[in-house]
């Protein structure tokens, strides 16, 4: 049985996760900007492939954020439906909200999996220069 407080339980979690996504996004955007400057200065292929990897992650984070926000919105809509007494509709919308949150988290999982690759490229550079 869905009560008016059930979707609201997800709200703090969703907004915290959105906060984490935002922090990630801001950092990656700054990093891309500084890497771009570095690339223009010394035309290094490795920097370019780092930028490509970071760019993919930025798109992933954008989608994570979009799904998170949509989950939040559907949660709110679900609350309103409960408020007006549309019990069945509210249950479907809550399911949708949960699904969107799951999609967002899955994208986050993917993003984390590729998050080390830019660093690997950066460090690959060091190990190469050591061998030389």
């Amino acid at each position: 049985m869905l009560t008016i407080s059930t979707p609201a339980i997800l709200f703090p979690a969703t907004s915290l996760i959105l906060l984490a996504y935002t922090a990630k996004m801001i950092q990656l955007a700054n990093l891309i900007r500084s890497l771009k400057k570095q690339y223009l200065a010394d035309r290094d292929k490795a920097v370019l492939s780092q930028i490509v990897s970071l760019r993919r992650r930025i798109y992933l984070i954008r989608n994570m954020q979009a799904c998170g926000i949509l989950s939040f919105i559907t949660g709110g809509v679900c609350m309103m439906m409960l408020f007006w007494g549309f019990q069945l509709l509210a249950e479907y919308i809550f399911g949708l909200s949960l699904t969107l949150l799951l999609i967002s988290l899955f994208l986050s999982f993917k993003e984390i999996r590729i998050s080390v690759s830019a660093l690997n490229i950066e460090l690959g550079l060091i190990s190469k220069s050591r061998k030389l």
Partner: protein
């Protein structure tokens, strides 16, 4: 559905965290727009100008998101106050408006997120040009 004194309070942590996220965005965008402006004064690149335009729209959107969020918070507290004074009917309406404002705030946020990658795309445009030129030379 029965409204209790604690129902609006459920929204408090969510709204305040959301406002924290908005503030972070706002600060990052404001400092970015300042650095882009100094860069633009130095080299007058049209790329920078279109980035600045994008960030400016987003700053205004973030301001509106914050306004709606704060108003939603305010109405939540007002709802609690009304219930404390046994104005059940009025409290219900207030809570409804509060939720609606939160939804509006989130929708603006969604729009902001969807255009957020645009500035970076513009930033990377010239790099893509270089890469294509390099490949053409080979």
């Amino acid at each position: 559905m029965e409204l209790t004194l604690t129902t609006p309070a459920l929204l408090f942590p969510a709204i305040s965290l959301l406002l924290l996220a908005y503030t972070n965005r706002f600060l990052a965008l404001a400092s970015l727009i300042r650095t882009l402006k100094t860069q633009y004064v130095e080299n007058q690149s049209p790329h920078l100008l279109s980035q600045i335009a994008n960030i400016r729209t987003r700053i205004i959107q973030v301001r509106n998101m914050q306004t709606c969020g704060i108003l939603s918070f305010l109405l939540c507290v007002l709802t609690m106050w009304l219930m404390y004074n046994n104005q059940q009917m009025l409290a219900k309406y207030m809570f409804g408006i509060s939720l609606l404002l939160l939804m509006i705030s989130l929708m603006i946020s969604l729009r902001e997120i969807l255009i957020s990658v645009r500035a970076l795309e513009i930033e990377l445009e010239d790099i893509e040009q270089y890469v294509r030129d390099n490949e053409a030379r080979k």
